[in-house]
């Protein structure tokens, strides 16, 4: 059986959704909705099945070196620049394709109901399939050039899906913003590729990393520069400081899109990239610190912004930015496996939260303002319970949720790793308070209290089933890696140890670990309690805080995401538009226009001498002759 599974090629995993896209793109318009749904969902489902097969083979017969490579064809071959169109499956990719194809499948299934009445039904599934195909290419790519293909491809799909309801100009603006901002990050990443190729002479990830480890001294300038540039690409894609502004706006897309692309998969590509190129980062301690600082700062900033949002999807969007901040924090302190672990659990619970939010939005006739919701606990019990589990996992309620295990690992590493520091841990701990607070604020406002909206659509099986599966995963997904006092399961780190190095611990005292865990658990519960007191009990405190000048200013400031949009508008958008406006007539055209004008005025001056009178001409001839004669005689 194992051997049979091993004959299953890896390329099937991305090829099936790509095929689904092709079919839907070419004949999707003519297909009945049922068929479009079957093709769209089925292709991703088959891809998930293929993933299972590939994974089974990988686990039973671990390939030599921990990586299975499949070269499909030579993509580009120019002199020394040889890029294979080849896929590589190692433990890291395996986790990623598992998350992408399974969560992707559940979200596709959910979408068949969520998008059922939409005009662009088959178009939606075409884009979604294309996204899954590109995302799988990204994580399976054997070299950075091919990774870049997936990287840009998912950016395209993100653009297409954010602007899916294209007749609204605001959606189009959000979609363009997402594409352009991430492309700014991609520019940095492209320079990193250039440098790697110039020095290492290859873009093959493994070879380039091996070369760097061998040839670059730890802390060497080039390693730091490359690592920082890669970080630049990662912060663009993963919506981290300073390129985080696009993600909240990206919520303009349909909710399943937010769940798949802007929570579970694409936005975590930056984390994947850094994990994939960890060798360079290990050589560049300053860059590692930068990653950790970016992560810590982002998680605090976004956490604060999430506190005051009123749009349910924007709360979740800021929460996503914040959670990816945790992943960056983990990466920055060298807890590679923990970051990827959090990536996985986050994919489960955040996809769940978005999908549940989508069910609420659908039930309330596309209402997204949480203060117009309320009391939905009774009306939508299935959605309520799954949302509650998702929120608990997001808040990282101790022991019972997946989010706890992954976040705990990151926080412990932030304290105890050699690259860690107490203040990094403190940032994470404050973030935990914020997370617990805003996630339960959401639960209490939306599902408790008085009923405000009218529920006119109850979720069917195709919505409830993905919610249930993801809710289950949000709980049990964490049990693959547990702390020492709780069974000490190490399945996840055991799996990823072939691809990612272990944490370099500076502190190994388990008492410290337990004490810190207790502190974080306490902080988390405090956050939940605060949310309970402020939003579930009748309380005038939020209103009172908002009434103070500082409160009002802060709430506006956080609502706008710390004013980054306004800043970038001043710094980049307006100057660019101003320049474009200034140049629109093409000033260089003036040069040739001036030549033409000079010729024209010369022409009109000379043509005035051509007055049509013979006598004048004769006079001219006479004078000319006299002058000519004078010259001859006098010289």
């Amino acid at each position: 059986m194992g051997d049979l599974l091993c004959s299953l090629p890896i390329w099937l995993v991305p090829a099936l959704p790509a095929l689904g896209f092709l079919v839907l793109a070419v004949i999707g318009g003519q297909l009945p909705r049922r068929w479009a749904a079957v093709i769209g969902t089925g292709s991703v489902g088959l891809s998930a099945a293929a993933t299972l097969g590939v994974a089974a083979c990988f686990l039973r017969h671990p390939p030599a070196g921990g990586v299975r490579i499949e070269t499909l064809w030579t993509w580009i071959d120019v002199g020394s620049f040889e890029i294979g169109f080849s896929l590589a499956l190692d433990a890291l990719s395996l986790v990623m394709i598992f998350v992408v194809s399974f969560v992707g499948f559940l979200i596709h299934l959910y979408s068949t109901e969520y998008m059922a009445d939409d005009e662009g039904f088959s178009r939606f599934f075409a884009y979604m399939n294309l996204f899954v195909a590109f995302m799988l290419m990204l994580v399976l790519a054997d070299n950075l050039f091919l990774l870049y293909l997936g990287w840009e491809g998912v950016g395209l799909c993100s653009y297409l899906l954010i602007g899916f309801w294209y007749t609204d100009a605001a959606n189009g603006a959000a979609a363009q913003k997402a594409f352009i901002v991430t492309r700014v990050g991609d520019t940095a990443m492209a320079v990193a590729l250039l440098l790697l190729f110039k020095h290492a002479g290859t873009l093959d990830v493994r070879q380039a990393m091996a070369w760097a480890t061998e040839n670059w001294a730890p802390g060497s300038t080039m390693a730091v520069v490359v690592a920082l540039l890669l970080l630049g690409g990662a912060v663009g894609k993963s919506a981290q400081l300073p390129l985080q502004t696009w993600l909240p706006d990206a919520m303009a897309g349909p909710t399943p899109v937010s769940a798949l692309i802007h929570a579970a998969t694409m936005v975590t590509a930056g984390v994947y990239l850094i994990a994939r190129t960890h060798a360079v980062f290990l050589l560049a301690p300053p860059a590692m610190t930068a990653v950790a600082v970016v992560g810590a700062a982002t998680l605090l900033l976004a956490g604060c912004s999430a506190l005051v949002q009123t749009d349910i999807k924007r709360v979740l969007a800021y929460s996503t930015i914040s959670q990816i901040g945790y992943m960056f924090l983990g990466l920055g302190v060298g807890a590679w496996s923990a970051a990827v672990f959090h990536l996985m659990t986050h994919a489960f619970f955040k996809a769940l939260l978005f999908l549940a939010a989508g069910a609420v939005i659908l039930a309330l006739h596309h209402e997204q303002d949480i203060f117009k919701m309320g009391g939905l606990r009774k009306r939508l019990p299935a959605v309520f319970w799954t949302f509650l589990l998702g929120s608990a996992s997001l808040a990282a309620l101790p022991v019972v949720t997946a989010g706890f295990y992954s976040k705990d690992l990151i926080l412990w590493a932030a304290w105890a790793s050699s690259a860690g520091a107490p203040w990094l841990w403190a940032a994470g701990a404050i973030g935990a308070l914020l997370t617990a607070f805003y996630s339960f604020r959401l639960v209490f406002i939306v599902f408790f209290g008085d009923e405000k909206g009218h529920v006119d659509h109850r979720p069917g099986l195709k919505i409830v089933l993905p919610l249930a599966v993801l809710a289950a995963l949000s709980v049990v997904g964490g049990f693959v890696e547990t702390p020492g006092w709780l069974g000490h399961v190490t399945a996840f780190s055991h799996l990823t140890e072939s691809a990612l190095p272990a944490v370099d611990w500076a502190v190994t005292d388990h008492h410290v670990e337990h004490r810190l865990q207790a502190v974080v658990a306490g902080i988390t519960l405090l956050g939940v309690l605060a949310a309970y007191l402020l939003y579930l009990r009748p309380s005038s405190i939020p209103a009172a805080v908002k009434a103070t000048a500082l409160g009002a200013w802060l709430s506006r400031f956080w609502l706008s995401g710390w004013g980054f949009d306004a800043l970038y508008d001043r710094l980049f958008i307006r100057p660019f538009k101003g320049l474009a406006h200034l140049l629109r007539g093409d000033p260089f055209d003036e040069i040739s226009a001036t030549v033409a004008r000079v010729a024209e005025s010369g022409h009109s001056a000379l043509s005035r001498t051509q007055n049509g009178r013979i006598r004048t001409y004769a006079f001219g001839i006479g004078v000319g002759a006299v002058i000519a004669a004078a010259i001859v005689v006098l010289t």
Binding site: V78, D168, G172, Q176, A580
Partner: protein
């Protein structure tokens, strides 16, 4: 013999289409289509004959035709193809068919003469790509200019006369400068060796004294930079593109601009390596200027055709920096970029033409939300907008990134500026989509989606651009030997490279 046929078929076909046009416009259309198809088949058979074949010891030339023309003046009729010329000719054949197809309903007046001009332009372009005698080259250079001027001036839009005159003057002045340079080079060669000849092969390696070499080189450079076009002598292009009929814009973008790039690669650098080396910093920064300037101006336009025209300026800036980086990666990327820009920008012009036929405007402020009515056209436009912003999976990505990888060791600042140009490309490409197919619905009238003829045009374009993105080695393998022999002639212009 195929080489001569490649020129004769469109040349004679043009006369035939003219005569046929007096009887019936449709006859002229079908005849032109047949001629264009024959041309394409000829080009493809030529490619097939040399596909994957090893280049022999006789240099990169795959086929050569040589006849004396005016032996007293050392002028001979030399046609030859290497991998570079071959691909350009295949591109010419391919775009030629599209140009005939797109004119099918658009052109209603003086159909016969129109197709005659169209086919003669193709003949001229084919000649330019094959001529290896400088006099012969100059001859074809002018042959392609005149019918093109008529295409713009007679069948163009509102300001067609202005655009045609501007195009003619710019190109003619450039061409005359080149003629002066050709003569200067020939006389220098004659003074050195006593042999009066215009043959490229013999003129190669002519030692020209240093200040003179620079000026002679500059004559060639200006002629080709006008065609390319390089900022600041690009400004004939937006007008010509905007006012030309769709087929005219298509040929301009896809083929005529390539003759400029071809000239730089084939003539300027190999004939004047030292003088070209002194040009490198200028050319690189002119290229960057073109990339950024074209990108910003594309964003600022409201006329869709003008917008696409400025994207050409931006993309051809990459070609300029690619040529003057003169290393393997950059040069191969340049050729890739030439081919892919031809397909992608040509397609964007086709799309603009189709929109114009439907809604009779090119003003983007009056468009919006067209996807609702013409989803197929929107999808096609999306693909080529993505190609234009260099999305991986399209050939443009391969071209642009090969160039960038090639430029990087030569000049890092130029590379970073070029990458910023790619960001600018993202901005203007998305704007194309946003203002036309996305956004609030602005057109109330009912319009038809693409018909079979249009699908038959666009489908091959899409297939080719994606094919080039995923299997670029199909074409790289063909032009690689040609490029290598160029390196043999001029190993490097500047220090740097892999």
């Amino acid at each position: 013999m195929t080489l001569v046929l490649l020129i004769l078929v469109p040349l004679i076909g043009g006369f035939a289409a003219w005569i046929a046009g007096r009887r019936s416009a449709d006859l002229s259309r079908w005849l032109s289509l047949a001629v264009a198809l024959v041309e394409l088949v000829l080009a493809l058979t030529l490619w097939a004959r040399h596909f994957g074949a090893d280049v022999g010891s006789g240099g990169p030339w795959l086929e050569v035709v040589q006849r004396p023309w005016i032996p007293e003046l050392g002028i001979s009729f030399i046609l030859a193809v290497d991998g570079l010329s071959l691909l350009m000719i295949v591109l010419t054949g391919f775009i030629g068919v599209m140009a005939v197809l797109v004119s099918w309903r658009e052109i209603e007046s003086r159909v016969g003469v129109y197709f005659a001009c169209l086919l003669w332009v193709l003949a001229g372009i084919t000649g330019v790509f094959m001529a290896l005698d400088l006099f012969c080259f100059y001859f074809f250079w002018e042959v392609m200019l005149i019918p093109m001027t008529f295409l713009i001036g007679v069948w163009g839009h509102e300001r067609r006369i202005y655009a045609a005159v501007k195009f003619f003057i710019f190109t003619l002045v450039g061409g005359l400068l080149m003629l002066v340079s050709i003569l200067a080079l020939t006389f220098t060669h004659a003074a050195e060796t006593g042999v009066f000849t215009f043959a490229y092969g013999e003129l190669l390696g002519t030692p020209v004294a240093s200040p003179a070499a620079f000026w002679i080189m500059l004559g060639f450079f200006v002629a080709f930079a006008v065609k390319l076009p390089a900022v600041p002598i690009h400004n004939w292009l937006p007008d010509a593109h905007t006012e030309a009929p769709t087929a005219g814009s298509l040929i301009l973008a896809a083929l005529l601009l390539k003759t400029g790039a071809y000239g730089l690669i084939r003539f300027v650098v190999p004939l004047f390596p030292e003088a070209s080396a002194t040009m490198v910093p200028w050319a690189l920064w002119l290229g960057v200027l073109g990339i950024i300037y074209g990108g910003v101006l594309a964003f600022a336009q409201t006329d869709l055709k003008r917008l696409v025209a400025y994207t050409s300026v931006s993309h051809m800036g990459f070609v300029l920096i690619g040529v003057y980086s003169w290393n393997e990666l950059a040069l191969q990327g340049t050729v890739m970029q030439m081919i892919c820009h031809g397909i992608s920008t040509g397609s964007l012009f086709l799309i603009v033409g189709m929109l114009y036929e439907r809604i009779h405007t090119r003003d983007v402020t009056r468009m919006g939300g067209l996807w609702t009515q013409v989803p197929r056209l929107g999808g096609v436009a999306m693909i080529f907008a993505m190609a234009s912003l260099g999305l991986p999976g399209t050939g443009n990505f391969v071209g642009e990134f090969l160039i960038i990888f090639g430029v990087f060791p030569v000049n890092i600042a130029v590379t970073v500026a070029a990458l910023l140009g790619i960001v600018a490309a993202t901005i203007y490409s998305l704007r194309i989509i946003q203002t036309t197919f996305h956004g609030p619905v602005a057109i109330a009238v009912k319009i038809e989606d693409m018909n079979h003829r249009e699908l038959a045009m666009m489908a091959p374009m899409i297939i080719v651009i994606v094919w080039l993105g995923l299997w670029p080695s199909t074409v790289i393998a063909t032009f690689e030997p040609a490029m290598e022999s160029l390196f043999h002639l001029v190993p490097q212009l500047v220090i740097g490279g892999y």
